[in-house]
């Protein structure tokens, strides 16, 4: 008994701050245990913003965190902060509305919003606490979106997301910050300022404008010291690129200006960092880094909500280790935190911005970020129906279900291995597609978009069945050497009955590792083109081709025993 307790204590000790905040160690943090410095940094932020007493009550902070979780569609984070009474006082209504807008449409926040809060009786200290709490909510939702933790048994089952009901803002008041009164000046030896001067060469205004809460500035500088600065996993420049990309997707002029300048001090020219902003795929970075940015940009807090579908497989295929992936996710989460703080406080850039996001960039119908989007996909046979559904004609969706249910089912059946599950999940995929069709920008074919939803839904289900720890596996295997090298009969399929053929292929496909199986399913079973498969999987065309060939060769190995011609083995049949 004593031994069990000792083990338990050892396990939770590094998470003491989390136990204090939540009463237990949430799965969201357990999944990051391979990177203790990141957990430690996150604990410090949670402690400073949520646990430490400030003008806002814990009840109200939890309520704000739930609002962010709803805005970002995170059931997990809603459950994580559902422990306190959710009865929102009427006097807090203005604060909650502000939090909702900051979480969903941060670039629209303006001085007018702050004036409304002040008129409702909130002073600058309370407004700062609100901004920080919402920003922390964005950080937690980013982690949950990427890591997809299982629900915590200590918490009630997550309730489904409530619609936040905030209409898309149209008006944009272009007012300059900063919105809050400055706090007391920092002492000359204030450690965070020394850190910023040493690492960045200056103290960014964003931090100077939070001096009503110097303890939070300390936690923030500590977080950057633990996540941005170390170079034992990802390089500093690679992480700065993550900051730049997420800031771009979040339409955050401040961070694009400041981190472009910081990159210049690291030897990256302003032109090169500008290329990351305008189109990172054309920037002078490695294919592996392009793949990293492809996945990481899904974690941005875009106006309207975070994108689903962050995928580990392409990153593992490019040789990223799990701690490296975790670090990139943490960097994206911290960037979402900081861009939210900036939007809430209206901090003005320390340098003249080379790229200013304007009203045009802010309008969501121009795409998640027009800087990194492609042209509208031409020749989509479903385009006319999609437009009708987007215009409110729900019944038109029926034809899309009819046209694509076989393909969706085929993909899911091959992924999940169970036809009944595949039938159920096929319905879920169409419901998700209907729910999100307003966000579909027609930059790919509808069928490609639908296929990626099917793959994401199927793989998410597989992950729930297998523990997340399976992340440790999946590095690219060594070169594949065929072992079966005897000739096959001319028409091998004739040797088997139809039902045997079906079983044989099903067995062979299901025994393939997931990353090869998905590609074989799309290309050979569903007859999807290489380009469409690459788009649906978020992979490059060469990566799809390589995986397809490997998958086919593996299938060939499993089928060979049934089809080899019974004859003497050729004397030169050997690999050279």
């Amino acid at each position: 008994m004593g031994g069990t307790l000792a083990t338990r204590n050892e396990q939770i000790d590094p998470f003491r701050g989390l136990v204090e905040a939540y009463g237990f160690v949430p799965n969201l943090f357990r999944l990051q245990k391979k990177l203790p410095r990141v957990i430690e940094a996150e604990q410090r932020l949670i402690d400073a913003i949520v646990v430490r007493e400030s003008g806002l009550s814990r009840r109200l902070k939890d309520c704000l965190l739930r609002i962010v979780a709803s805005a970002q569609g995170s059931d997990y984070c809603r459950a994580l902060h559902a422990q306190t009474d959710s009865n929102d006082g009427e006097e807090d209504a203005a604060l909650l509305a502000f939090a909702n807008k900051l979480a969903k449409y941060a670039p629209w926040i303006c001085k007018h919003d702050i004036d409304v809060l002040r008129a409702s009786g909130f002073d600058d200290s309370l407004i700062l606490d609100t901004v920080l709490t919402v920003a922390l909510g964005q950080l937690l939702c980013t982690l949950a979106n990427a890591l997809r933790p299982n629900p915590d048994s200590e918490l009630p089952a997550p309730t489904s997301i409530e619609a936040s009901g905030l209409p898309e803002p149209v008006e944009l008041f272009e007012t300059k910050g900063p919105y809050l009164q400055p706090g007391p000046p920092a002492a000359s030896n204030f450690p965070p300022y020394a850190f910023f001067r040493e690492q960045f060469g200056f103290v960014p205004k964003l931090f100077q404008e939070q001096m009503l809460r110097p303890d939070v500035v300390e936690a923030e500088s500590h977080t950057l010291a633990q996540i941005l600065i170390p170079e034992d996993l990802l390089s500093r420049v690679a992480k700065e690129h993550v900051v730049l990309l997420i800031s771009t997707a979040n339409l955050n002029t401040y961070f694009v200006a400041v981190h472009g300048q910081i990159l210049a001090t690291l030897g990256v020219s302003l032109e090169d960092s500008n290329q990351i902003v305008e189109d990172y795929r054309r920037a002078p970075i490695s294919p592996a880094e392009v793949a990293l940015l492809d996945e990481v940009r899904k974690l941005a807090c875009r106006p309207g909500g975070m994108e689903a579908g962050f995928d580990l497989a392409p990153l593992q295929a490019h040789g990223f280790s799990n701690p490296q992936i975790l670090e990139a996710v943490a960097m994206a989460a911290v960037t979402n935190f900081l861009t939210t703080v900036q939007a809430g406080l209206g901090a003005v850039p320390d340098f003249l911005p080379r790229r200013v996001f304007t009203r045009k960039d802010l309008y969501p119908s121009s795409g998640p970020s027009r800087l990194i989007s492609d042209a509208i996909s031409p020749n989509d046979p479903d385009a006319a129906i999609v437009v009708r559904v987007q215009g409110g004609d729900t019944n038109a969706f029926e034809e899309l279900v009819r046209r694509h249910s076989r393909r969706v089912f085929g993909t899911l059946a091959g992924l999940l291995g169970n036809l009944d599950d595949a039938r159920d999940v096929t319905q879920d995929v169409f419901l998700k597609a209907f729910e999100h069709i307003g966000r579909f920008q027609r930059r790919s074919k509808f069928s490609t978009w639908l296929t990626s939803i099917a793959i994401n839904t199927g793989t998410e289900l597989l992950r729930q069945r297998k523990p997340f720890e399976s992340l440790d596996e999946g590095e690219e295997e060594a070169e594949f050497r065929p072992r079966q090298i005897q000739s096959w009969a001319n028409n091998p399929e004739q040797a088997l009955a139809a039902s045997q053929r079906i079983d044989l292929v099903r067995e062979g496909v299901l025994s393939l590792p997931e990353k090869y199986r998905v590609v074989v399913l799309l290309r050979d079973i569903n007859q999807v083109s290489t380009e469409e498969a690459a788009a649906a999987l978020g992979l490059s065309i060469p990566a799809v081709k390589a995986r397809l060939l490997r998958g086919r060769l593996m299938l060939r190995e499993s089928l060979a025993p049934y089809f080899i011609r019974i004859e003497k083995r050729s004397p030169d049949a050997d690999l050279r």
């Binding site: 089912f409 496909v509 079973i525 050729s570 049949a573 690999l575």
Partner: protein
């Protein structure tokens, strides 16, 4: 001449008939002299044909409409 490993790394496009004329010529030169790779190409083509023609993961035609009905029913139930 290519080794078998080099051949196996490159023959994906060849199977799809998408290899450039230069690559194709080099692959065929190897194939001409290597019985093992001939067997691998032939059996991989047969694998693709076999897998593609098999209805192992196909939704039966009569199961499409029930899915359409269920999905639309759930959509209408969800609408306020």
């Amino acid at each position: 001449m290519l080794t078998c490993a080099e051949f196996l790394a490159e023959f994906g496009d060849y199977l799809e008939e998408e290899a450039s004329p230069e690559i194709r010529a080099r692959l065929e030169q190897h194939l001409h002299e290597c019985k093992t790779c001939q067997v691998i190409v032939d059996s991989t083509r047969k694998t693709i044909r076999f897998v593609t023609d098999c209805d192992s993961f196909t939704l039966a035609a009569d199961q499409v409409e029930p899915i359409v009905k269920d999905v639309m029913k759930r959509i209408h139930e969800k609408k306020p």
